[in-house]
Symmetry: C2
Subunit: 82 residues, 2 copies
């Protein structure tokens, strides 16, 4: 299985990278942009695992390493790999 | 509309951040992890736009600013916002 993990700054947490990207887009004339949030997208290859096990491992990876729960929230999905 | 953009290192491009995260997970005992790729997840808020326009703006943002086509590939989806 392959886990796709999406990590974003929590609502209300300042996201300077997103602010910068939004301003840069507007400076380029892409002016329909109201707001940008920049987060992380992580793919974890978990070969030979069933769905339930892969979800458990992914949750553990997020909680023990990948995500700072003070300022980030995450979601993930587990999909069949090659 | 809200665009969700996923940017990943291209196949065959070394991803040192992904290697490091994979090793760190295995060091924590999360040893089912075969490989990790670390990319970016970007949300772009495009209020008051129809789907076709939002897709065009998102593609332009990727090609003119967000993505380095030498080493990164991207996909995106546009969804209805609040």
């Amino acid at each position: 299985m392959i886990a796709h993990v999406y990590i974003t700054p929590k609502e209300g947490i300042l996201d300077p990278q997103g602010e910068t990207v939004g301003q840069a887009l507007r400076n380029l004339g892409i002016d329909k942009v109201a707001a940008v949030r920049v987060g992380k997208y992580i793919e974890i290859d978990l070969p030979g695992m069933a769905r339930a096990g892969a979800e458990k491992v992914t949750r553990e990876a997020c909680e023990r390493l990948l995500v700072n729960p003070n300022i980030e929230s995450y979601t993930f999905e587990v999909v069949k790999g090659d």
